[in-house]
């Protein structure tokens, strides 16, 4: 008698969304990926560093000692204060201040936030574009594939910086200068995204061509599932492994590209400084002895990019069946 009631209960538990999510989380912590993460010391350190930076950026208004955007709190008399542990430093400004009297620590935390927002947004944009075109290219094949891949080849022969400079230049030409500062962030996201979609498209296309010939895709075709649904439900989940690796390393690249562009003065404006803008500002004072204005944002940038890159490397190894 107990057997049928038990199976009814099982049926119910199987139907609840929360049960599925809880099961998914349990599976993740039981799974290979988590085990591989725990046993790699570099991955754990890189993961913690990345997590701390992400959290600091996310909760910047709470974490940072002051709000660097709030001009009312700035005092020009505080300008060029050295870091706290150096003579002339003040305990109010742990990492010193810049030429405006802004607290460097706060500026770096808020700058990291800007850098990460641009990095994430542009890589998500690149991912959406690349995955869509890659899936279409790999699944449909033929002339469609040829056209998309030739565009990708042409795109790949231009360095990302050049494309970003080009887009930025065009937008600057089209818009009045006072409007430019408002949309600078969108220009950056678009131009960094557009210069990174090719890798996603190529990887997804390759995996898609492998997957589409597997029999489970054919089984779905036999029962007449629409090609778009096959791509989304069957093929996409099976190509996400390599995509996640590219996305992680791509995030580091995007942050770096953003910093480069901002350093060159075509990225984030000084009113909304990213890490690159801060380094750019700081390098004016490098020769005159106020090294901290450029060095600390640069150090932060290097740490962030290194940590994310190491995570990406670990992820690539963890997802590579040949190295398991």
């Amino acid at each position: 008698m107990s057997a049928p009631t038990q199976s009814e209960a099982e049926i119910e538990s199987r139907l609840t969304a929360i049960g599925r999510v809880a099961d998914g989380i349990r599976r993740f912590f039981d799974g290979d990926i988590w085990y591989s993460f725990k046993s790699s010391r570099i991955a754990v350190v890189a993961g913690i560093v990345t997590l701390v930076i992400f959290l600091a950026a996310l909760f910047a208004p709470i974490v940072a000692p002051s709000n660097p955007y709030d001009l009312a709190t700035l005092n020009l008399l505080d300008a060029f204060t050295a870091p706290a542990w150096i003579e002339g430093g003040s305990s109010a400004f742990l990492l010193g201040t810049d030429d405006q009297g802004r607290d460097m620590l706060s500026a770096i935390i808020f700058g990291t936030r800007v850098s990460l927002i641009v990095g994430f947004a542009s890589i998500i944009f690149a991912m959406l574009l690349g995955i869509t075109l890659g899936l279409i290219s790999g699944y449909v094949g033929g002339i469609t594939d040829a056209v998309i891949m030739r565009i990708a080849d042409v795109q790949l022969s231009f360095p990302a910086i050049l494309i970003a400079l080009l887009v930025d230049g065009v937008v600057r030409g089209l818009l009045p200068p006072n409007r430019h500062a408002d949309i600078a962030v969108w220009v950056l996201i678009f131009s960094i995204g557009i210069s990174n979609w090719v890798q996603f498209a190529r990887t997804v296309r390759g995996s898609c061509m492998v997957e589409r010939n597997k029999e489970y895709v054919q089984a779905a075709r036999i029962i007449g599932i629409h090609p778009i649904l096959i791509m989304l439900r069957h093929v996409l989940p099976n190509v996400m492994g390599p995509v996640s690796v590219i996305a992680t390393i791509g995030l580091a690249v995007a942050v770096l590209t953003e910093a480069t562009l901002s350093f060159l003065g075509v990225g984030m404006p000084p009113t909304q400084p990213s890490l690159g803008t801060l380094v750019n500002t700081g390098q004016n004072f490098l020769a005159s002895g106020e090294w901290w204005i450029a060095v600390f944002p640069g150090f932060m940038l290097a740490t962030l990019v290194l940590a994310v890159n190491l995570l990406g490397d670990w992820l690539r190894d963890a997802l590579n069946p040949k190295l398991r």
Binding site: I11, L15, E215, Y216, Q218, A219, I222, I223, G224, N238
Partner: protein, 353 residues
């Protein structure tokens, strides 16, 4: 399970009485592949277009509740026939009719859906035929959802549980992912998925060739039991003649995209007529005659892009003469079926040879 089986059987019988069509009729089926070198190479190196005739003019019919097997070496086109029938390939010529309804007459996906539901496929590789990211429950439920056979989650859950029991798995197994199963269990899942839409006709593309011999027998017995219970009709693709002997009512022997011999299974195994069939049967290991000297199969399968003239088997055939080299034999009636061989037709080849 038994209820569903009964209703399906009666409906199939009624339909059969009304229209005396075979379950599946394949008539003059052709499937050519364009294997030309890329356009640039054709232009610069002057290389011609090339066509691979994977399936070239094949006709057969399968009666309801029966099993027809297609056998032959790798690359003879048997899987291509299967793929054409289930709609994965568009035929280059000929017709495929399910209970008298020609698939070519149904243009849209929507118009074909009612027929497609009644026809499913079991695949060769149980490791590639199940989506590794999907739970077994969702894999088996997919056809039910796709054809909108049941409404409501609990009904689908009940149906999937029923299917899992039908193929000898437990309802709990629906929660697992394919990698948690062995090859034989995966093939059971694959069969459950194929049965999910209540089909009457199953195309089985070498369903056991990727399995251990001990597991092969289990799967074959399961398939036979399902055929009895649900009144299924099978098209069985295999290169393993002992499996074919176990499963079939009739057998089609394919060579280079054409049928060499199409006969009732008992007749074929008792008295193979076509020299190629004889050769295939010769290669079956036999415990009763250990140490018998065997005729090694001379030659290799010719390049299907450039098949031999006349009878495509003539380069390997010990009985070939001038006519075989120049004129292609057509299927001609013999006891229990048909054979495409000049030597048999002319009586050059004694049946008891």
């Amino acid at each position: 399970m038994s209820l569903a089986g009964c209703s399906r059987m009666t409906s199939a019988t009624i339909r059969h009485d009304e229209a005396p069509h075979p379950k599946l009729r394949v008539d003059g089926l052709k499937r050519y592949f364009d294997v030309s070198p890329p356009w640039l190479n054709r232009v610069t190196e002057g290389r011609p277009r090339q066509t691979l005739k994977a399936v070239d003019d094949i006709s057969f019919a399968i009666e309801p509740g029966k099993t027809l097997s297609l056998v032959g070496e790798s690359g003879c086109g048997k899987s291509t026939v299967a793929r054409c029938i289930v709609g994965l390939y568009r035929p280059s010529g000929g017709s495929i009719a399910f209970e008298g309804v020609d698939f070519a007459s149904l243009r849209s996906r929507a118009a074909q859906a009612p027929l497609r539901r009644r026809m499913q496929m079991i695949f060769q590789d149980p490791y590639a035929s199940l989506n590794p990211r999907w739970r077994v429950f969702d894999i088996i439920a997919e056809p039910v959802r796709a054809f909108r056979l049941l409404r409501g989650k609990s009904e689908i859950v009940r149906r999937v549980d029923e299917l899992l029991r039908l193929v000898g798995l437990a309802p709990r197994d629906g929660e697992k992912y394919p990698h948690e199963f062995s090859g034989g269990q995966r093939q059971r899942v694959s069969i459950a998925r194929a049965l999910a839409s209540n089909p009457e006709f199953l195309v089985c593309d070498e369903p056991t060739s990727a399995l251990d011999v001990s597991v092969q027998a289990q799967i074959l017995n399961l398939m036979k039991a399902l055929q009895r219970e649900l009144g299924l009709t099978y098209l069985f693709i295999s290169h393993d003649l002992s499996v074919v002997y176990h499963m079939s009512d009739s057998v089609g022997v394919m060579y280079l995209g054409r049928l060499a011999e199409l006969r009732d299974a008992p007749a074929l195994f008792a008295q193979p007529l076509h020299p190629y069939t004889r050769l295939l049967l010769e290669t079956i290991p036999d415990l009763d005659v250990i140490g018998r000297r065997r005729e090694p199969l001379a030659g290799e399968v010719p390049n299907p892009i450039d098949p031999p003239s006349g009878c495509s088997f003539h380069p390997r055939c010990p009985f070939a003469n001038e006519r075989c080299r120049s004129q292609r034999p057509e299927l001609a009636p013999v006891p229990g079926g048909a054979v495409a061989c000049h030597a048999v037709a002319e009586g050059r080849l004694a049946p008891d040879d």
